[in-house]
């Protein structure tokens, strides 16, 4: 798979730690919602570092967007969120991955469960659904520490209630005054409240930190959802 030289056309600050990098990519072959790319940085002495990032844009968008969260010890993410400037070039290759992908032919209803920056590939799926004018019903449960840490906040709030898209937030650390969404870490009861019933046979996409995904996926299995209809993407350590 070839490396391509993309150009940064815009940087959008999503949260304090998260930036959307808007790219034009020559001869981009297209992607499916949920796929990712590998990014490669090269220092002047030839040292290279690579990481994978989910694609945040829909296949129909005319730019490729990566949304990157700066990690405290992130060698690549701290460059992408902080040093990278509009007009810079960025080496990447992809698209990669074919399982954590949603396209209209897979049907629905869709259950999307995202924790933190795990929202990124789910956002691509929602944008894809709107771009296709699909009627597949969607429920999104998005867990963030606070409203300030909700990525794509305006876009998701605007999507809520639009043509069968139901967006719910849980803010686990800090809630604004008058908050009427959920206010706790994800657990089986919360999943049960938001999820479709097993009889409705949703396809579930769960993305977030490892512990978050374990809880959500285990809860779905316990509720009677088929393991084969639960697709997961995990990031970060397990703590051992």
């Amino acid at each position: 798979m070839n490396w391509r030289l993309a150009t940064v056309v815009e940087l959008i600050g999503e949260t304090d730690r998260t930036t959307s990098i808007v790219l034009t990519v020559p001869d981009w072959p297209g992607h499916r919602a949920g796929q990712h790319v590998d990014v490669r940085l090269t220092a002047e002495d030839g040292y290279q570092a690579q990481r994978s990032y989910s694609i945040a844009s829909a296949p129909e968008d005319d730019v490729l967007v990566l949304t990157v969260e700066r990690l405290d010890d992130g060698e690549v993410s701290s460059y992408l969120v902080g040093e990278l400037r509009q007009g810079d070039e960025l080496e990447l290759r992809g698209p990669i991955g074919g399982y954590f992908v949603w396209e209209e032919a897979l049907g629905g209803p869709l259950l999307l469960v995202g924790g933190g920056s795990g929202i990124v590939p789910l956002r691509a799926m929602i944008r894809h659904r709107f771009a296709r004018r699909s009627a597949v019903p969607v429920r999104l449960l998005y867990s963030a520490r606070s409203l300030d840490e909700v990525i794509y906040r305006e876009e998701l709030l605007a999507a809520d209630g639009r043509g069968g898209v139901d967006v719910r937030f849980t803010l686990t650390r800090e809630q604004p005054d008058g908050w009427n969404g959920y206010d706790r870490r994800i657990d089986g009861d919360l999943i049960a409240e938001v999820a479709w019933t097993p009889a409705e046979r949703p396809i579930a996409y769960v993305c977030g930190p490892t512990a978050f995904v374990e809880v959500a996926a285990d809860a779905l299995v316990s509720l009677g959802h088929q393991a084969g209809r639960i697709r997961t993407e995990r990031f970060g350590p397990t703590g051992r």
Partner: protein
């Protein structure tokens, strides 16, 4: 080669450089990557089987498996998502032990797992002291998130080949792509040749 303006890189540990394949970085964490929910299997129901192109299929219960000669293994592991972890300590049974005396015309294996995951490897790569079925990690039973009760351990290939929740191998004359191999990942997956994706 495109120089990334303003990038210097931070994690260069020269002492370990020779142990880190191209494009990888060393982590002390143990990240988890799985395509679906973590399967939970009772040890009473667990078996490990060798089937396919073999005169007499073999199968071990958990207790039988635990009675096999056990090896402690310290190896470096390399995940296609770029992390490498050095000096990981495992306990398990060598595939050589499991395959001892098996007569087969097969040249390939397809490992199969709880949850439906599969991965394919040349038979040659799971023999000669290069592959194990591991059930212990760092002195403890292997966590379910990391593939417990038992996973394949084939450290000379990218770690998706070290199938979690493994329940056996299918000996095959023909090579059949496994789960990730069918989604565009490399058929063989040698980290030292950076064989991440098909065509690499």
């Amino acid at each position: 080669m495109h120089i990334s303006r303003g990038f210097h890189g931070r994690h260069r540990e020269q002492a370990d450089a020779a142990r880190v394949p191209p494009g990888q970085y060393v982590t002390s964490d143990f990240p988890v990557l799985s395509a679906g929910p973590t399967p939970r299997v009772s040890l009473d129901e667990w078996t490990f089987s060798i089937r396919g192109q073999v005169d007499e299929p073999r199968s071990w219960s958990w207790d039988e498996f635990q009675a096999l000669p056990r090896e402690d293994i310290t190896v470096d592991i390399h995940c296609v998502t770029k992390w490498s972890k050095l000096d990981t300590g495992w306990a398990g049974v060598s595939m050589d032990t499991l395959l001892a005396g098996v007569e087969t015309a097969a040249e390939h294996v397809l490992a199969f797992c709880d949850g439906g995951y599969t991965t394919n490897l040349p038979l040659e790569d799971v023999t000669g002291g290069r592959a194990w079925v591991a059930f212990g990690y760092d002195g403890d039973p292997l966590d379910p998130e990391h593939g417990g009760p038992a996973r394949l351990l084939v450290p000379h290939l990218y770690f998706w080949k070290s199938a979690k929740w493994v329940r056996g191998i299918d000996l095959r004359v023909d090579d059949e792509p496994g789960f990730w191999e069918g989604y565009g990942y490399h058929n063989y997956g040698d980290p030292w040749r950076e064989q991440r994706y098909a065509g690499d």
